[in-house]
C-alpha cells in the first residue's frame, strides 16, 4: 500500500517517430501495462511497425520507449537495449518458425531460454492442441497449425510483455475462441500484459481492456475499450467498425431456469442472454450488441420471442445516408441503435423521446462461448 503502488500501474511509455519514404509513424502515448491492449486500424496503418519498434527490431527509430520504468530506447541518451534483453515477446504476422526444428524443438527453444518457468509446458501444448503435432516438421504444418505453434512458443518464453500481431488470422472460429480464452487465462495467471493487433473488433472487444486505434501512423483514439468503441460508432459515414454497444456487466443469475443468464445493467434493468457453461466461473461478462440488432418500439412489446426490453431516452440522432444512428440512454448506459431512415420517419423519433429498445437474447454476443 505504498504510494507508488497506489499511484499507478506500470506503464509502457512511447514517444517515438519512425520515418519511411511514404510512411511516418509518430506515437506519444503511455500504455498501462494491465490486461490486454488492443491495436486496431486499417491495413498499413503502422500496427506491425509499432510492435517491431517496441520489441527493438525497428532500428531507424527516434525517441524513447520506457517499459515499466526501464528505458528500452532513448536516442537522445543513446540508449538502445537489444531485442534479446527486453524480455518482450512477439508473435509475428507470419509465424517465423524455425525450419530446422520440429514443433517440439520450436517450443523447447523458448522454454530453454525462459527465466521464469511458471507455465506448465504440457498445459500450453494441450491448450493449443499441439500434442499430436509435436514431432512434426514445421514445413508440414497447415497455416493455422503454424500460427498455433508460434503462439505457444511466444507464450512459453514468458516475456514481461507480449506483442501479438494478428496471431489468429489463419484460424477458424472454433480455434480462435479457444485460443482467446487461453490467452486471457495466461494473461491473468502470469499477470502478463499484452498488445494485441487484430482486424477483428469482435476479438478485441472480448479480450481487451484498452484499445488503441491507429490511422496512418498516428493515434486516432486510445482509452477504455468500451468508450473507444462507442466513440468509433460516431466516426462518420466511412464506418471503420460495425456500430455496437460494448458492455461489461456483472452476472446476476447464471440461469434464470429457462436457459437465460441475467446481467445486471443497473438496479432496475437486466439484460438476458443465452446461458453458457463457461459463464459459471465468471462474475462479470463482456458482451456487445450490434446497433443493427436493436430495434425500437414505442410501446412495450408483447407476445414476441424477444426477451430484452429496455426503457430509455433518445439522447442523440445521427443521420447517415439511409441509416440513422440513435444513442439511447438507459439508466446510466448509452446504447447505440441503427434503424432505417424509413423507420425513423415512420415512428417520427426525436431527441428526448422515450422509447423501448428490444433485442433478442441471441443478439447479446460474446465471442467466447
Amino acid at each position: 500500500m505504498t504510494d507508488t503502488l497506489l499511484n499507478k500501474t506500470p506503464q509502457l511509455d512511447l514517444n517515438i517517430t519512425i520515418s519511411y519514404q511514404q510512411f511516418d509513424l509518430a506515437i506519444v502515448l503511455p500504455i498501462p501495462l494491465k490486461g490486454i491492449t488492443g491495436v486496431f486500424g486499417h491495413s498499413a496503418s503502422g500496427k506491425s511497425t509499432l510492435l517491431r519498434a517496441i520489441s527493438g527490431l525497428e532500428t531507424p527509430l527516434k525517441g524513447d520507449i520506457t517499459l515499466a520504468g526501464k528505458s528500452l530506447v532513448n536516442t537522445e541518451k543513446n540508449i538502445y537495449l537489444k531485442p534479446e534483453n527486453r524480455q518482450v515477446g512477439l508473435v509475428f504476422q507470419n509465424s517465423r518458425l524455425f525450419p530446422h526444428l520440429t514443433v517440439l524443438g520450436n517450443l523447447e527453444y523458448a522454454v530453454k531460454r525462459c527465466k521464469n518457468r511458471q507455465l506448465s509446458f504440457d498445459k500450453v501444448v494441450e491448450l493449443t492442441e499441439l500434442t499430436p503435432l509435436l514431432s512434426h516438421q514445421v514445413r508440414e504444418l497447415s497455416g493455422g497449425q503454424q500460427q498455433r505453434v508460434a503462439l505457444a512458443r511466444a507464450i512459453l518464453a514468458e516475456p514481461k510483455l507480449l506483442l501479438l500481431d494478428e496471431p489468429l488470422s489463419a484460424l477458424d472460429q472454433h480455434s480462435k475462441t479457444k485460443l482467446l480464452k487461453m490467452m486471457l487465462n495466461i494473461q491473468k495467471q502470469l499477470d502478463l500484459p499484452m498488445l494485441y493487433v487484430s482486424h477483428s473488433l469482435d476479438e478485441l472487444q472480448q479480450v481487451c481492456d484498452t484499445l488503441l486505434v491507429l490511422e496512418k501512423g498516428e493515434v486516432l483514439n486510445f482509452g477504455n475499450i468500451h468508450q473507444v468503441i462507442h466513440q468509433l460508432n460516431n466516426y462518420g459515414d466511412n464506418a471503420i467498425i460495425h456500430q455496437q454497444t460494448s458492455l461489461d456487466l456483472p452476472i446476476k443469475t447464471f440461469d434464470n431456469g429457462h436457459g437465460l443468464t441475467a446481467l445486471a445493467l443497473n438496479a432496475q434493468q437486466d439484460i438476458f442472454l443465452l446461458s453458457d457453461k463457461a459463464f459459471e466461473q465468471q462474475n462479470q461478462l463482456r458482451c456487445f450488441i450490434l446497433a443493427s440488432d436493436i430495434s425500437i418500439t414505442l410501446t412495450e412489446p408483447v407476445s414476441s420471442s424477444i426477451v430484452n426490453h429496455l426503457f430509455g431516452v433518445i439522447k442523440q440522432i445521427d443521420n447517415q445516408e439511409n441509416n440513422v444512428l440513435l444513442t439511447v440512454h438507459c439508466g446510466s448506459q448509452d446504447f447505440f441503435v441503427t434503424i432505417s431512415a424509413f423507420s425513423q420517419q415512420k415512428l417520427s423519433l426525436t431527441i428526448r423521446q422515450q422509447v423501448y429498445l428490444q433485442f433478442k437474447a441471441g443478439a447479446v454476443r460474446t465471442f467466447i462461448h
Partner: protein
C-alpha cells in the same frame, strides 16, 4: 620406404585438420562480419581475403618464405615469442595453408549468412537468445551444409596444396613433408608405380571421406515440398 609415405600421410592429416579448425575459427566470424557489414570498405576486405587465390602458390610461398624468415619481422616476432624458427616448421605450413585456403572457407560461409536473412534471427532474439546463442541455435544448423562445404573445400585444398608448403616447409620428413610433396617426389624420381599407388590411395581415401561428409549432410536435403521433389522422404524426428 612405404613407411615414409605413411609418415607424410600423418603429417598431412595433422596439418589439414589443424588448418581446417583454424580456418573455421577465423573464417566464421570474418564471414559473418562481411555478410552483415554495410560499410563501403566491405569490398576491399572481401578482395583482400580473396587475394591468395590469385597468386600462384609458389609465388605466394616465396613471399611467405621471406616473411617467415628470421630476418624479417613476422619471423622474428615468432622466434621471440616461441623460441623456435618459424620457416620450415610445422607451424609455418599450417599458417601458410590457412592464408592460402581462407577464401574457400570465408566465401561460402559469407554467402550462406547473407542468404539466411534476418527474420529467424529476429524471432530468436525475441525469445531471449543473444548473438552467440542465436549463432549456435539458428545460424549454424540452418547453414550446416555451407559449413560442411567450407570445411571440406578448406580441408581438401590444404591436402592438395603443394607450392606454398614446399616453399615454406622445406620438405622435411616427419615435420613438413606432406603427401602432395611425397607424391610429387615420386613423379620426379620416375617412381611412377608408387606415384600411381599413392594417387589412387589419396583419391579413394578422399572420396570416401568426402562421401562420408556429404552423407552426413544428406538428411537436410529435399525437405521442401513441391516442384523438385519426386517423392517426399518421411523421417521420424531427425532433429532430436
Amino acid at each position: 620406404m612405404i613407411n615414409s609415405d605413411l609418415q607424410a600421410l600423418i603429417t598431412t592429416l595433422e596439418m589439414a585438420t589443424l588448418t581446417t579448425i583454424i580456418l573455421l575459427i577465423i573464417g566464421t566470424p570474418l564471414a559473418w562480419y562481411l555478410a552483415k557489414m554495410t560499410s563501403r570498405f566491405k569490398v576491399i576486405i572481401e578482395a583482400v581475403v580473396a587475394l591468395p587465390l590469385v597468386l600462384p602458390p609458389t609465388v605466394l610461398g616465396f613471399y611467405l618464405l621471406i616473411a617467415f624468415s628470421p630476418e624479417h619481422l613476422p619471423g622474428k616476432l615468432w622466434q621471440q615469442a616461441t623460441g623456435q624458427q618459424l620457416a620450415f616448421s610445422f607451424s609455418a605450413i599450417v599458417i601458410g595453408s590457412v592464408l592460402y585456403s581462407l577464401p574457400f572457407v570465408v566465401q561460402p560461409l559469407q554467402k550462406a549468412f547473407e542468404q539466411l536473412g534476418d527474420t529467424l534471427l529476429e524471432a530468436g532474439a525475441l525469445l531471449g537468445a543473444g548473438p552467440i546463442d542465436r549463432f549456435f541455435s539458428i545460424v549454424l544448423p540452418l547453414t550446416k551444409a555451407s559449413f560442411i562445404t567450407a570445411a571440406s573445400l578448406g580441408f581438401a585444398h590444404t591436402v592438395g596444396e603443394f607450392g606454398v608448403i614446399l616453399m615454406i616447409g622445406g620438405n622435411i620428413p616427419g615435420e613438413t613433408r606432406v603427401l602432395s610433396i611425397a607424391l610429387f617426389d615420386h613423379v620426379e624420381a620416375f617412381d611412377y608405380a608408387r606415384a600411381h599407388l599413392l594417387s589412387i590411395c589419396l583419391l579413394l581415401g578422399s572420396m570416401v571421406l568426402l562421401a562420408a561428409i556429404y552423407w552426413l549432410n544428406l538428411p537436410k536435403i529435399n525437405k521442401a515440398k513441391g516442384l523438385s521433389s519426386q517423392a517426399n522422404r518421411k523421417e521420424g524426428n531427425p532433429d532430436d
